[in-house]
Amino acid sequence: MSDITQSLAEIVGESYVSDQPEEAYFYARDPGLMPTHEPDYVVIPKTVEEIQKIVRLANREKIPIVPMGAGMALTGLVIPLKGGIVVDMKRMTGIIEVNENARLVIVEGGTSQGLLKSHLEKNYPKLRHSIPDSPATATIAANVMIHGQGRLSQQYGFNSDMVAGLEVVLASGEVCKIGSNSISPDWFSKGAPMPDLSGLFLGWFGATGIITKVALKLYPRKKMRDVELFITDREDLIQDMVFELTHTEMVEDINIFTQPLPMIFKDNHHMAIFFTGDTDTELEFKRKMIWDSLDRFIRSKDGGFMGVSPAMKPTLLEMPQRSVSRFADVNKGGGFEYSGPIILVEKYPECARKIKELAEKYELGYSGMARIIGRGHCMMFGFAFTFNRADPDMMDRTRKALHEVSEFSLKAGGVFWKATADEQRMALDKMDPNTRALMGMIKKNIDPNGIMNPGNWEVK
């Protein structure tokens, strides 16, 4: 056992540290297509104090340190690009406190989306959080760290906008409270009315600190939930349709998907419009408002509502949607990856055409899916391609297609979501120089030894 392994074992216990080839292999990759890099060590801490000690050790020894939730970003954000210690957070799964009336929850840094969903459903039936469609193992902390989106993003913005406070272990090993909790026992705001320091951590992929606790805003959970499907072949009208739908303020979530299969879906755009209610009256009122808002498109024969079959409805209403993961194996290949730029809704037609063009060029299966963020302020457009892990050529074609998506996204005015290392470099190159310099200054001061997830957001 090396000295570092021994030191880590003294911190977390021998059972929860590995420098073995099996863990090195697994933690060197995520389910996506990014190049592999092996960690030197994997540790699974149980407490904040253990994380502090690990970070101090890493700082002293100048060893890179990479926090990891479930590793479901698919863009390589938990692949240790320069080796070092991967800190698997999933032994820290506590739900520390729920303030029912204030609709707030505080969770530990490894608490999964699934665990919080289950806890709320069983104990607080009037509360919910904005659950993403990533697998249920995805953690709350990692999701807000990457500015994820979820079922409530159309109403309340990015999931990171719903953060109400953080606890972070800094590169120095100190614990820092971010938000109202820094001067109050109550976690209800990540910044306002003070300077919002959460921006020093959210979106940085662990390059500035390790999130050990998250306070999250919760929202009303209605007793009923339903979905309508609106179909159009007029991609140029999507923006107008979204405008009308969001104007109603009746909609929970809007997802728009375009895909070649099944055959009847080809060349159409399906808007899944989710809505909720506590009573039949409320639900039916909202349904009517939604139908009325799109009436002019029906009258102009530019679209119509499609009956949602009993077989299809549970799949659409499921949270998280397991079908998203199933996409990986539609061709019995076990792989998919997507690039999901955040971009204006008016760019939907370009995005929809681009994914089809790339799928044809590289002979790939695809699914395009837009999730509306805010009241139509922007959207995440997922360019998803499925590939066969046993087919290196197909994997290479998928990489090329995704690279073209990255170039397209920047040109189209988009911003990379959960950017790969390459996309981060592209973004930094294009970024306003003063903004880039500010990012560099922040990183240099907060992590002077460059140990925190190095290779991410590195300003040269």
Binding site: S18, E22, E23, F26, Q113, L115, P135, A136, S325, D329
Partner: protein, 384 residues
């Protein structure tokens, strides 16, 4: 390796680790070790790497492969079309390890003992039926049912008492049954799950021949593991028998009024054995029995039915103890979950679960709060 054409299809999304409602991680090996490598997805990716010679047959790899309790939680919750084959894939990897002759020492010892002694306890065959002495259970001689007890029920002190209770109860209720005693042979379920497919086939063929020679048509098993082997694996080898787990027979006897149940006041929680529940879909019969006892309050654990958390004894781990030790061992976790219900009794329908959970109670020092009783032992209390 069998299923080698499937292993690349795992996306490692992790649904396999959970219950259906995401209450908790529900893979016993993952709960114990907590490295992703010990979860079904990790195992799939490592098997592929191993087949591609990217990792070697290390001791840790063997531990990872043999830490699977074959509880089938992953089969139940994996979202992909190959989910049914997940446990089979892990067993296929074990078969490869066995054929290479590189297996953990406890696995090697278990298989050797079965091969040499016919049972994992290294006990002589003529001791096999001694548990039945002093009971009304007779040697099989053309009765309607064979009562098959298995290695654990035949040799383990605690399990022998359960076997005697089950057998006596059935006889008392008028069931025509007999045992093979010293002529009984290991069913091989754990031999198969530990990857010794050749030895399993030998045992199965011996049993099938013996059953046929005795004219056996119907079998009642004590152990869900035997039930699984007879029901699912023996038909493929020419062994078509009418197979029941004893709880199925007991439920029918109670339903038809052949067992008269008196009041038995107790708060009971029921632990689903994986080889009765997830592997064979029998969740109702044990619950029906318990609910039919006047005064008995059945309180479900949070994880039950198809979401039940394995005691950690499946897949040969009862013998190899790879999942044992430490506060994260599955039997200790399950014991605490049972305690949280407020019940004073954990009802089981598997002698292996009984032993595992009793060990969990001891380790958690809960002897004064919790007792493990087989469903038949509870019924016996209500009868007498």
């Amino acid at each position: 390796m069998k299923y080698a054409d499937i292993v690349h299809r795992c996306f490692r999304c992790g649904y396999c680790k959970f219950t259906s409602d995401y209450t908790d991680f529900n893979c016993p090996a993952y709960r114990k070790f907590r490295f992703e490598t010990y979860a079904p997805g990790g195992r799939m990716w490592l098997i592929r790497a191993w087949l591609n010679d990217e990792i070697k047959t290390s001791e840790r790899f063997q531990e990872i492969i043999y830490s699977c309790a074959t509880c089938a939680n992953c089969v139940e919750h994996c979202v992909f079309t190959f989910s049914e084959d997940l446990v089979n894939i892990f067993i296929a990897a074990r078969e490869e390890l066995v054929s290479e002759g590189i297996i953990p020492p406890p696995v090697r010892d278990f298989l050797k003992n079965i091969h040499v002694n016919g049972n994992p306890y290294k006990e002589p065959a003529n001791e096999r039926g001694k548990w039945a002495e002093g009971t009304p259970i007779e040697t099989y001689d053309g009765q309607e049912y064979l009562f098959y007890v298995g290695c654990v029920g035949s040799y383990d002190e605690r399990a022998k008492k359960i076997a005697a209770t089950v057998g006596s109860l059935l006889v008392k209720a008028g069931v025509s049954l007999g045992i093979l005693g010293e002529k009984e042979t290991c069913d091989g379920n754990e031999v198969r799950t530990l990857g010794e497919s050749g030895l399993f086939q030998l045992l199965a063929e011996q049993n099938i021949e013996s059953f046929k020679k005795h004219g056996i048509k119907k079998i009642i098993t004590l152990d869900p593991h035997s039930f699984n082997a007879f029901k699912n694996d023996y038909p493929g080898l020419g062994g078509e028998f009418e197979v029941y787990h004893y709880t199925q027979v007991l439920a029918q006897l109670i339903r038809s009024g052949k067992i008269d149940l008196k009041e038995y006041k107790a708060k009971v929680t029921y632990h689903d054995p994986c080889y009765l529940g997830r592997h064979n879909g029998e969740y109702k019969a044990p619950r029906e029995i318990l609910k039919s006892i006047p005064g008995l309050e059945l309180i479900e654990m949070e994880r039950n039915g198809e979401n039940a958390f394995c005691c950690g004894g499946g897949g040969g781990n009862f013998f190899t103890d790879i999942l044992g030790g430490g506060e994260d061992s599955p039997n200790r976790i399950r014991t605490i979950e049972a305690l949280d219900t407020g019940a004073g009794i954990i009802a089981v329908a598997c002698p292996q679960c009984a032993k595992m959970l009793e060990d969990g109670i001891k380790a958690e020092e809960l002897d004064d709060k919790l007792t493990v009783m087989d469903v038949a032992e509870i019924v016996m209390q209500a009868v007498s």
